[in-house]
Symmetry: D2
Subunit: 392 residues, 4 copies
Amino acid sequence: MDMNDRALRNIIVGLGGKVNGIPRQDSFRITVAAEVMAILCLASDLKDLKARLGKILVAYDLDGNPVYAHDIGAEGAMTALLRDALKPNLVQTLENTPVFMHGGPFANIAHGCNSVRATELALGLGDYCITEAGFGADLGAEKFCDIKCRFAGLKPSCAVIVATIRALKYNGGVPKTELAAENTEALSKGIVNLRTHIENIRKFGLPPVIAINRFASDTDAEIKIIQDFCREMDVEVSLTEVFAKGGEGGTDLAQKVVSTIEKNDGAASFSPIYDEKLPIKEKIGIIAKEIYRADGVDFLPAAEKSIAEIEKLGGGNVPVCIAKTQYSLSDDPAKLGKPENFRITVRDVRYSAGAGFVVAFTGDVMIMPGLPKAPAALKIDCDDNGNISGLF
Amino acid sequence: MDMNDRALRNIIVGLGGKVNGIPRQDSFRITVAAEVMAILCLASDLKDLKARLGKILVAYDLDGNPVYAHDIGAEGAMTALLRDALKPNLVQTLENTPVFMHGGPFANIAHGCNSVRATELALGLGDYCITEAGFGADLGAEKFCDIKCRFAGLKPSCAVIVATIRALKYNGGVPKTELAAENTEALSKGIVNLRTHIENIRKFGLPPVIAINRFASDTDAEIKIIQDFCREMDVEVSLTEVFAKGGEGGTDLAQKVVSTIEKNDGAASFSPIYDEKLPIKEKIGIIAKEIYRADGVDFLPAAEKSIAEIEKLGGGNVPVCIAKTQYSLSDDPAKLGKPENFRITVRDVRYSAGAGFVVAFTGDVMIMPGLPKAPAALKIDCDDNGNISGLF
Amino acid sequence: MDMNDRALRNIIVGLGGKVNGIPRQDSFRITVAAEVMAILCLASDLKDLKARLGKILVAYDLDGNPVYAHDIGAEGAMTALLRDALKPNLVQTLENTPVFMHGGPFANIAHGCNSVRATELALGLGDYCITEAGFGADLGAEKFCDIKCRFAGLKPSCAVIVATIRALKYNGGVPKTELAAENTEALSKGIVNLRTHIENIRKFGLPPVIAINRFASDTDAEIKIIQDFCREMDVEVSLTEVFAKGGEGGTDLAQKVVSTIEKNDGAASFSPIYDEKLPIKEKIGIIAKEIYRADGVDFLPAAEKSIAEIEKLGGGNVPVCIAKTQYSLSDDPAKLGKPENFRITVRDVRYSAGAGFVVAFTGDVMIMPGLPKAPAALKIDCDDNGNISGLF
Amino acid sequence: MDMNDRALRNIIVGLGGKVNGIPRQDSFRITVAAEVMAILCLASDLKDLKARLGKILVAYDLDGNPVYAHDIGAEGAMTALLRDALKPNLVQTLENTPVFMHGGPFANIAHGCNSVRATELALGLGDYCITEAGFGADLGAEKFCDIKCRFAGLKPSCAVIVATIRALKYNGGVPKTELAAENTEALSKGIVNLRTHIENIRKFGLPPVIAINRFASDTDAEIKIIQDFCREMDVEVSLTEVFAKGGEGGTDLAQKVVSTIEKNDGAASFSPIYDEKLPIKEKIGIIAKEIYRADGVDFLPAAEKSIAEIEKLGGGNVPVCIAKTQYSLSDDPAKLGKPENFRITVRDVRYSAGAGFVVAFTGDVMIMPGLPKAPAALKIDCDDNGNISGLF
């Protein structure tokens, strides 16, 4: 459902006798965390959409056999409901630049990118198509390349890594409350985080461009450190001021992206980081070592059991989608910079058979948010003339 | 929610420890059965809407005191959500006659009519405004007059009672499978049901007009019985063929309604059947005796307890909305014609404080429908070109 | 279980996944309310005990067929657990009179009497065997005669009806707080309750003897009314003072019981009030009319459905055990004396297939008591020397 | 409760409205897994029993403050219930040797030994008191020394380590199905397990004696290996045949225990392995390193949180009771012999405030066993003469 309520995270339904169902433990999730959302964003057309919906694993029968949405005849009606939703949704910026906003798969238990249909439409309509794959380059970029591009046969030409001097200082050990003060030492230390992302992007065969999202508190000395570092890494860097100046603030970045592609179009060299035919544990191991830079992966017993079950169900040769904190390259949000000497712990693995990937959980993932102590609703009002206030 | 699922009728939520809420027994209901829907349909404007939303009784605190939506600051955000929904929705018939379709309060636990806003807008835009108050004249017409008209200050001029010869024969004892055959005896016997509805409508001060929804199987002899009966009752009758002929099939009815109003505009003599200031049990008693023709009303202990509680909360002087089967004037669907020597049993009473009425339950009322063994979804499909089939 | 806890009345068990069971709604009941207790008290020997345990209806399978304890092989182990419990338990009074205290079936959903084994042992060991069948003569005596005697082939010779002048005045309309004051008018009015019980006992073919449990507040004028009434009814009456004087206070009663039996041994004329081969509703109807003096019985839909189901399962020709308030001959505790012009409402019927009777519920029956706001445990203590205080 | 039922492991109680309690998630545990059992076994007298019962942490209030049994006035009634249970229970062997069997605290979430009262009584009545502290010497002996002896001020003189050649071969890598065959190589390898237990016992200041529980399949060559090993370790060893020969089969062991004590009474040198005033994590660390021989201890977040909470509640300076598998010195049942290069993972810590220790969980601990697919009850029967069969 599309409404937050923590009370719906763990529920029991079907109480009150046979006519009211069979009692079972269940849970609600918000729309974006549904496998249907991931499917909508990965489907190439209506036929593919219906096929994927039919493959959703919805239950096990009393003998332990899997029951798919197709087995209960649900995919036809589901496709009918989603027919129009599959069409990309065109909006525009304040400067009237056309933008497709279409689909919102949770960037954790799903791949977190815009729909395949929207990207393909944009590619057909313009010279350059720019898409977002956020939530940390170790998560967003990895899933964009290994899941979305793999399924849709997309070949990106270039990757823009967005960074801030504040965040790099934070990765260098500065507390959040002191990020506004100049601290070249911390910046020099935290820049190892950016270095790792640059190396990671290059592992996919893509030329990176660095976009520094400029803040008023950034000092010349700090900016110089970034520029020197990028020169050393042989990577273009642009100071963007889009927040302050709109499109004009991003022109330099755009030109550097174009010139980078002209010099070296990544589309030729692009490839995912792992072969999806490898065993599940090996695929997770490659991501953990190559991208997160972990020493290895530990699988808790529940994860081991799930992996065996999924491989038995035929889910062994699909991409893996790792749910991990975006605050650290490791699975521990407190480990900043470029963590070393750590292992990733996978506590469970689930099969999104319709979406076509397996999800490996490295921590608790919230699929039904709760309201804060003072929910936003308390500030929202509507006066007698219909003027709504308090939304923002 | 707007999705049927019997498994959501009786649920337990808030499991999994403090961070996931406080365990409680709860239930979902479909949108039309929500008090919010009744409020939307009764609200005269945004201010009234907000005030009514704020009065919804949502809980009791640990000391047993009532907690209203206003107490938790919810009515502002609720009003913002409903701002646009309050505006009447204009559609048209196949012959391009304008129609407002706006709101759908359950005709059982709510008053079952179109919104006050739509009716007022229609009254302002046309010479005549026709509105539906279905689900049996003992239920629909009674609630329209006693709840909607009372709240909105509406004064109807005339009431059209729609009947079929088939239904009157059924009320005369003919099984459903034999309604197509002529049976003047059963019709003469079952016509007492129509007589009761005519008498009931006149109790509200309204002149009735009878519309016989004509079927191909109706015979001349049967039609003559109806016509003789209406002459005897001194009431206009029209054979309508709207289903077969469209607007033309209803012209005669329209003219009879107009001439009836010209002879005798009910707006002057109209009044509800009871004084809403009377005690709850007396109000229910009046409806039961005057409209249902019961000997009296029995209140089960839960109903007695609820009535005492509601009167303590200040809900003693609002209209009552009786949830009762539409298949009989009594609360027993098997009692046809004009049942006699029966009593109505009220098993529980609930307070829709925001909507502004109390609901008296005379039987089980379904507020969350379930799917049939073979749900409609099984027939619905969408082909690769987006053509949807199986909806009807 | 043998511990009171209202929180265990309505529970859900089997949560936490397949290894921890299948979720289902369930409830605990206290030991005395278990069908096993009723069986223990009705079993004639170990063989009969095992056969009855095997007949307990424990579930329905997924196709709706009944599942008995025998079907799951439980009766052998259950019999082993109860082997020693089946042996009557001998205790003694303060004056060293031997007494069997054995078994405690709830006097509401079960027959409420001592075990068959204890009664048979007492009959074999003494000249006279006295047994208690309390909880109102309309309930206790009726169940003793119609259930226990019928199953065990017992033929009682005489019935002692215990009454108090206080209770008869209460039945005559005196509030509980004023029962100590003389009130011959109320006594004369309330004595109709005693008259009904005398008539009822005689319907079983038994000669009654009245025992007036004497209180210090009883006046001579009141006692005379009782004595005159008993003379008029042609029944022996004894003023007993057992509470004050021990066995000596009951000698007169004992002699009157013996002389009554010598004059007229009821064993020859005794018979149950109904034929157990009659349909369930007829049996309930006979008890309601002959014993409770009701005009008739109304069966709510759930009861109708259960009766049909029980008769299909072969439970149509066993005795019925009616759960009813002990405060009134009717099913309304507020109706005192000899209520007239009332009907009994049966809300549900359950099948105690092992015990060998069906239970008809006329109100809510508590099978798991709760603790009061200040439970007795708060007063109970044990000092350092092991002296326990606060038990009484 | 004292009945196994997996369906009672995870339940919801208090459903059905206010009069039936407040809904909450709960669980049953079997009697031996209750904190009350641990308390009964550790209490020095009635006064201490009552004090410990009063300290049981039963809930948290709405503000998060702890609620103890004392706060709800429960300890008086609980003590009254347990008054007689506190008295040691005297039984005898088949050869009429007196034995106290008293108390059964789960050897996992509790300390697993006989009651303090029984041990003290035995010490007062005989020259030697032998008590069992089973479930692996790393668990049973450690808890006996660190929990029971510490609380009761007991000073043991000697520890008998019971071993079998079969088990040592198993620890040397022989599969369970091949333990009957001679395998001196595996025995020589697995004997490192016995060596570790001997070293551990000596860390408590106690002189060990080895009892080899002799099996018919033990060969002379194998026995010689044991004897040579014990000589090398400078420890007495006895081949016991108590199972086959009764008391006579243990005479040699008894004499060796007596002579060992005469040579070196451990009571003088005995001391627990850790100081209970140390922080919880340090105490766990000492046991893990000294007894289990782990490299260190990892605390999962839930454990970290619980430890902080327990130390806040004043539970930081009590003994720790570690719940761990008995199949390995490590927390992984598959690691045999003397595992090396491993860490212990503590997933949660709970406070048994009444018993007076904190429990550290290193794996899943079953506190409510379930029945197997074919429960023992299926074989149990009772014939018509009361003969019970199938118990063993």
